[in-house]
Symmetry: C2
Amino acid sequence: MPDVFNPWEVKGDIDYDKLIKGFGVELIKDLPDVFNEEVLFRRKFIFAHRGIGRIINAIHYKKPFVMMTGLMPTGKFHIGHMMVAKQMVFYQNLGAKLYIAVADIEAYNARGQSLAESKKNAIEEYILNYIALGLKSENLDLYFQSNRSNHQHKANAYYRLQNVLARHATFNEFKAVYGEITPGKMLAALLQASDMLHPQLKEFEGPIPVIVPVGIDQDPHIRLARDIASKCKEFKFMELCSSYHYFMPGLSGGKMSSSDSTSFIALTDDPDVAAKKIKKYAFSGGRDTVEEHRKHGGNPDIDVSFQYLRYFEDNDKELKKVHDDYKAGKLLSGELKQILIEKMTKFLEDHQKNIEKAKRVVDRYMEVK
Amino acid sequence: MPDVFNPWEVKGDIDYDKLIKGFGVELIKDLPDVFNEEVLFRRKFIFAHRGIGRIINAIHYKKPFVMMTGLMPTGKFHIGHMMVAKQMVFYQNLGAKLYIAVADIEAYNARGQSLAESKKNAIEEYILNYIALGLKSENLDLYFQSNRSNHQHKANAYYRLQNVLARHATFNEFKAVYGEITPGKMLAALLQASDMLHPQLKEFEGPIPVIVPVGIDQDPHIRLARDIASKCKEFKFMELCSSYHYFMPGLSGGKMSSSDSTSFIALTDDPDVAAKKIKKYAFSGGRDTVEEHRKHGGNPDIDVSFQYLRYFEDNDKELKKVHDDYKAGKLLSGELKQILIEKMTKFLEDHQKNIEKAKRVVDRYMEVK
């Protein structure tokens, strides 16, 4: 299988050469074994980085480090969201302190969603799913942008940083990253920069390696935060580290979109519904007729069901067999879909039981209830 | 003496007709006696308002109300700053809860002054002088924009409001008020709007009449805060009240400027230094020769020493005698200056003793030390 596997879902928007040569993003090459236990790294879903060496070192020498990420509390939690959720659990298990921001200010300022609605959606859709996927309440700072902390020093420090960073930014920088910008979006952008940088304030961890895992299209946000941080002398920051992953494709091959339920499988979808979606919408890399398929084989590289299997089938040998059988024409598209449906059914059934358990402990995960 | 006395120090910038007819600012007419005990009201230094009736009612019916103001922690505290300081003491004595913001974020973002420097300057120059002028530590919420509160709910609520208000503002509004705008200035402007509005949040006083006393040139800031507040449905606000005062003229007649020590008398100036400044720089409304002065009289309306006396001489009869004698030519410019110098010397001597006392209690005035 090719290293850089499945680029079409970010096609058009991203100039990889520019990112990699112009902006100092590097392809991920050798990683310690502990990383490769995670499918996302082993199969290069996470394919590029800035400064991940500092994180590797911290893990190796058992030094403290932070993994920082955020969630937009709109729409349903779907399999595409698992990309970051699995990294949360991965890094937390390796000793990271996790910072998770619920971007309710961004939802309010950029999408007009009330803070109350964001709170409800964040808990019911995102946080319950994170817990069900293995997030632990220890070594975790999960917060709402609108309500940072039960500790006054932390609350003040987080918003102070947002305000102070503003001095070191220009409108043109925001426009370059966000396109059309409004005051509301600008505040959200600066709060996002504070989200990424504030773990290093003395009121939190102090200077510390921080990794922010994002989709490759999010690199401009990382760059903006790094640039502003480097200009701010009021506080000292270590440079942000980041990793870049591909998006999971939507069922029919385009982008997975929260606003189009035929493009994704939600983690709360009934397994039967998920099965129907796969049968009906999943883009196939098979041939037009069974005869041709048997003769020429299918194309797993563009087959969405196979892409999903790369994610849900942990066993490399099993996956390779499916891949090779499909390519050789031994496996038909419908059969490939059925393999995915079985995997997905098992996953959803187990996961949905875990969600019920998560409901009983979710309070423990949030400092500010 | 004319009602609208001394407009030249804001000349050019302000279109009074537009303010009063176009934007709903009203001239102050009848005020309850309790207001007229204060020279600033009696002599119409404070000459216009929006919605001051709500404050008058609150005072009359002994209902709670808030007086909100801020200070820019740069430069020396001079007699021009007393205009707002005296109103603090006045309203506090009438039962107001006072909110005083140290605009250290604005000083950082708009003037490049470090937060540490702002803290030092705010305490040594402004807060000590406020205390010496009669500010009490009860019924007072004195805070730094960068460090809102020792109560986490209050800290979160104050900055949350800044972020939420942003959605309801446009760049054009900011440009209209502030001219050239940068991200740093915009954040400071939104924090200023939160300064004015946050006393009405449930974490503070809840909806309550709030008066913000400002120089007349500051009305666009009030308007901006009122406009944004009216568009924000996430929180409910009573309309802001405001009062408008003239500036005290600089010694030589123009604007009093913190960056030009020959334009002001600082409250920490040695009385001898103050006397010399008055003799050397105070613009005179006298005639060119003693002979002409005796014959035609001086013009107290443009004489800066007389303007200052209007402020420092509380006794109306005494003031009227000086006014009439000067106008009649009985009093020479040098003699008028000498009257001011005596008043000023007494004031500064007493005040500077009060500053020494204030140093012993200043800690009590700030929640966040």
